[in-house]
Symmetry: C2
Subunit: 430 residues, 2 copies
């Protein structure tokens, strides 16, 4: 099955930050060619796609979230992280059934797909349900059963087994679109010996680790009080960083911690929207980038964001670090775009995702650029980062397959998903 | 001409922050009624509008911008304010013809209308051209011929005359939708004696004053060096605040300056997107709000934002002050919504705009709420501020008239505007 997009504009997100005007050939699930002229006569292609007035770019990669929490969007805003978690989120989440996780995650998946996100990281319970949705939707998912260890050893062990079983069952499934990680929720929700068990599981299964770390100043202080050291050293000591690791948030870090994270090549999922909304602070992203630490972007859950628009995260990343540092060159648009695409893929160890070039997986999105807020045709990278939004996405191809076309999601029944999600929320709050 | 919206949800933005489920009656250009049941049988209305799945709210008010600069969107990003202005913007703006101002402003007006902005402030040259567009488009415009006084006394006087003539010709025109202000560009671009002349003109014409102030730290320092005092005291001394005044930016203020601005009831147009992008800093909005200073929101010009999405400005206002202050209660969603609507209208002295209640002007926008990122139906104010964007707006009524319906602008020829704007940019950069 060979498709060719003709008469398109392509932001490649390669090292040269090239804009290609011309054609892109998709052979099955891979990009085979990108260049100004079709490499073969158009009649040999199974499908010829008119790219006029469309700006193509790699699909967005959302490296941290909790998709089922879309059911709690707007349910408890303008609160501190601890209050928000302990008094609003956790009590209602404790009531979540598999059905709630299913429709909450489905709502998020439809939102992400229609908004140009082609790969996402999910950390939550009942991850089998999410995996089935990823399989159905055609999306790429790096999934992990999040584990909170504030419970008896017996329950801890049960959770560990479930996390391992999920990874065994699903890692590499759905034509390789699903991968798995092992996820202790956070240093403050998992005792040290339990984290060590989870690290061992990651070794046994040869999987990366994903965890929240240093999201709030308070949590860093608590770590110092409880364990005599800041979270980075604590996790280093527990052997976490001996596995490939993706840290969510990483807002409060000193220079020594940054050096440790760089030394272990730990990946950071920067969640600017969520960090601002929960007043957690502003991560040291310009410092991280200068040191060569791999920083990607995540929305976090839809209850603390409150949408899953990765264009907005790119824009926030490009804006807040300028405003806060006073340096107008901090996180330029092209860097924000890399964070939202290629660095996202790198952060979840997808080596052939996140760029439009021959040999990469065909995860491609198209933006309608013939709109007032995206004219004139000056700097397309600037337009994507500083002006576009999820709603500008018209087409989404993942792994070479049509997933969204003309703004309609082809793989999910959007109407059913919306009604079921509403029903779930009504039942939960009855 | 009487219209009724039935089966709708209405965010009133009144003091009770009420959400009304039911009906709204528009009689000519005014809201006549809002409540759960139609006040009269439906057959008496000239038009019955189905509000199902729509969230209605007051139109957004953008209190600072330079609409013609849409032609320069993406033309020079990631630069410091001074470099960006002096090396990128001003040289190309010097080439702007009336035709450029016309199509650049038209592009912005179409973008704003489709995105739910019903009133805007514009500061630029050739304001007659913009006024004609405001008249045609059905929008509300508070327009001002911006004046830079770094020139001979003769040219200064010419500019002053043009600013006065514009105000005389257009203030109160287009059924009262157009109002005017007198606008010295900034303390650093207008000598003191020239500012005094502009203040006198504002007295003579009984008009407010609009100016940029304290956008960057550098400009504050320059004011101290040149005039021995910070800009607030400088403008106070020149009599600016004896007129009703709207200040754009006001980022760098000390406590004494805030007290002066409060004492004179000076209105502030907070431009978070532009201030972040140009690394100007973060205005002291939580302090201003605590003191009861009237703060509204502006996009600034599309070259430093880079779009005119007022939902994004509300969201930025609600997010950055939390993240920077560490206070998760700073600028809650309902406050950001007030800043984007009612306080915007108050900031440009439109006493009967910015709320959905009987007696107010019928400036009403509708959002399609049956979308994944706006479900479930938890907290509509939260959804508007934290999740919605300009693209979610489907209908816009201004002064009781349909302006946008089903996402199409009825008063402007969008295709022509887009093509002409592109042509203007091409000619400018040839």
């Amino acid at each position: 099955m060979k498709k060719i997009i003709v008469d398109g504009l392509f932001i490649t997100v390669d090292d040269q930050e090239t804009i290609v005007k011309g054609c892109l050939v998709i052979n099955n699930n891979q990009i085979e060619f990108i260049g100004s002229e079709p490499p073969e006569p158009l009649e040999i292609y199974d499908e010829v796609i008119n790219g006029n007035n469309k700006l193509y770019m790699p699909g967005l990669v959302n490296t941290h979230g909790h998709t089922a929490m879309s059911l709690l969007r707007g349910y408890g805003d303008d609160l501190a992280l601890k209050v928000w978690l302990e008094e609003k989120m956790w009590p209602i989440e404790a009531k979540f059934t598999a059905n709630d996780v299913k429709w909450g995650s489905a709502l998020s998946i439809v939102e992400m797909l229609k908004g140009g996100t082609t790969s996402f990281v999910d950390m939550y319970d009942q991850m089998e349900t999410v995996a089935a949705l990823v399989e159905q939707s055609g999306m790429r998912g790096c999934l992990t059963r999040g584990v909170i260890g504030l419970c008896s050893t017996e329950i801890q062990d049960q959770k560990l087994q479930m996390a391992k079983q999920f990874a065994k069952d699903w890692h590499g499934k759905a034509d390789g679109r699903i991968t798995a990680m092992i996820a202790p929720h956070a240093p403050y929700t998992c005792p040290p010996d339990y984290i060590e068990k989870l690290v061992q599981a990651a070794h046994d299964l040869d999987l990366p680790i994903h965890t929240h770390m240093s999201e709030s100043e308070q949590e860093v202080q608590q770590n110092v009080n409880d364990y005599g050291m800041r979270p980075t050293f604590h996790l280093e000591k527990l052997g976490v960083f001996n596995r490939p690791t993706l840290l969510a948030h990483a807002v409060h870090l000193n220079d020594e911690e940054l050096a440790v994270l760089k030394a272990y090549d730990v990946r950071i999922s920067h969640n600017p929207g969520s960090n601002l909304k929960l007043a957690s602070g502003v991560a040291r992203v310009p410092d991280m980038l200068k040191m060569g630490i791999k920083v990607s972007l995540g929305t976090d859950g839809p209850a603390s964001n409150n949408n899953l628009d990765m264009f907005e995260e790119m824009r926030l990343a490009a804006l807040i670090h300028k405003g806060v540092s006073g340096d107008p060159l901090a996180v330029p648009a092209k860097e924000a775009l890399r964070m939202g695409t290629y660095m996202g893929a790198q952060s979840i160890w997808l080596e052939d995702v996140g760029q439009l070039k021959a040999g990469m997986k065909a995860d491609i999105i198209a933006i309608d650029i013939d709109q007032p807020h995206l004219l004139p045709r000056t700097d397309f990278v600037s337009h994507v980062v500083y002006s576009a939004s999820a709603n500008d996405v018209v087409d989404v191809i993942i792994d070479g397959k049509w997933i969204v076309r003309g703004r309609a999601c082809l793989t999910m029944d959007e109407e059913k998903v919306k009604r079921e999600a509403e029903l779930c929320f009504e039942k939960l709050t009855q």
